[in-house]
């Protein structure tokens, strides 16, 4: 019971199947298991649920269609016509993060999006991709991105410095936002949960709090997936259209 009292224990990575590739540790962990589960759930929803190909969709098919249209609209609104080729990637990011967050809401499960290693890897891949897109589209003109039009020449050094810093902090803000939100929420739940048994008969007070925070956490699970996705859209839009 002693280890269960530490609210951070839920984030411990446990190697279920140790695998070594050369010098790299590629063990199949609880994190890997939930990534795999997330892929399976997403595939089940997006492939199996639409198997009937019904003209009038059932509940599951409707859910899949609504997810599709939700992200398609987001891409169309934020990037425009050129965004169509990035739609599968953006949709995959959304559904992967969303299922990672939601599966983490199941008690005793593991939330892989609460790890900076995962979110930072995703954010860095997005950042590199966006920078490459910008270079391929605009070549050297890409650097004009760091100097907004109409800025007085005296302010240029300052503006360029600010723009460069803000550009390079993107992957960190993107990854820390998601990881910190998920970690904070789960830690809070665990901390409040720790009060239930010691309070005895008054344990219903933290339980009521848990129910409320649980509701909030479901909202955050969705919201953070949404924010992560829409920021990706905005970054891609910046790369395609510059300012």
């Amino acid at each position: 019971m002693a280890e269960a009292h530490n609210p951070l224990d839920q984030f411990v990575i446990q190697a279920w199947v140790p695998i070594k590739i050369g010098d790299f540790d590629a063990s199949f962990t609880n994190s890997s298991a939930f990534m795999l589960l997330s892929v399976i759930c997403a595939t089940a929803l997006m492939v199996l649920a639409v198997r009937p190909r019904a003209g009038v969709p059932g509940r599951w098919q409707l859910l899949a269609e609504l997810s599709y249209q939700f992200i398609a609209k987001m891409v169309a609104d934020n990037i425009g016509k050129e965004g169509r080729s990035y739609f599968p990637l953006i949709f995959s990011i959304f559904i992967f993060v969303l299922f990672g967050n939601l599966l983490g809401m199941i008690p005793y499960s593991f939330t892989f999006t609460s790890h900076i290693a995962v979110t930072l890897t995703m954010a860095l891949l997005i950042f590199i991709m966006v920078t490459l897109i910008a270079f391929f589209k605009h070549g050297m003109k890409f650097f004009s991105f760091f100097l907004p039009e109409g800025v007085p020449i005296i302010l240029a050094p300052l503006m360029i410095a600010i723009e460069v810093i803000s550009y390079f902090t993107r992957p960190f803000s993107l990854s820390v936002r998601l990881f910190a939100n998920m970690m904070a929420g789960h830690t809070l739940l665990k901390v409040i949960g720790g009060f239930v048994v010691p309070l005895g008969i008054f344990g219903f007070v933290p339980v009521a709090g848990l129910v409320a925070v649980m509701g909030l956490e479901f909202l955050i699970a969705f919201l953070q997936a949404y924010i992560f996705t829409i920021l990706t859209c905005i970054y891609i839009n910046d790369a395609i259209h510059l300012h």
Partner: protein, 165 residues
């Protein structure tokens, strides 16, 4: 904090790339095109149905319009033919009335002529009849038969006094 345990980074990153890569392939090659085609089919069907409804509506409007004009024309025709019939009938009746009038007038005229002739004839006969009556009366009253000439003279003299009898 377990998140900062560097030794767990490589398995997480490796499995993230594997699972996300698989998910991306499944979504890009299988799931999204399929859902896209379903949505497109539905959109097309809805648009087709709407277009069909639009066409039918337009057709029915055209039909209603032609029906309207047909009714209007028929009403107009009925009115003109009624007016024509009334006109014809009134002309006919006028014509007949005038014919009848003419006939009556001519009949009255001929009747008057016949009456006049009859009267003349009667007047011309009245002298002879008076002579016969005078002869018979004189014979039976006084037993003498006066000569025909004297009677004729006396009667014509009397008739001249009262030409109309």
């Amino acid at each position: 904090m377990p998140q900062l345990d560097i030794s767990t980074f490589t398995p997480q990153i490796i499995w993230l790339i594997i699972t996300f890569g698989v998910l991306y392939l499944l979504m890009a090659k299988l799931a999204l095109p399929r859902i896209g085609s379903i949505l497109e089919q539905r959109q097309n069907r809805i648009e087709d149905n709407l277009a069909m409804a639009q066409n039918l509506k337009r057709e029915s409007e055209v039909d209603a319009e032609s029906y309207e004009t047909a009714i209007f024309e028929a009403r107009e025709q009925a009115r003109t033919s009624t007016q024509l019939a009334i006109k014809e009938m009134s002309e006919e009746s006028q014509r007949r009335q005038s014919e009848l009038n003419d006939r009556l007038v001519s009949e009255v005229k001929s009747a008057e002529e016949r009456i006049a002739q009859a009267k003349k004839k009667a007047m011309s006969n009245i002298g002879e009849m008076a002579e016969d009556i005078v002869l018979d009366a004189a014979e039976s009253l006084i037993g003498i038969a006066p000569s025909k000439d004297s009677i004729k003279n006396a009667v014509s003299a009397k008739l001249r006094e009262h030409p109309e009898g």
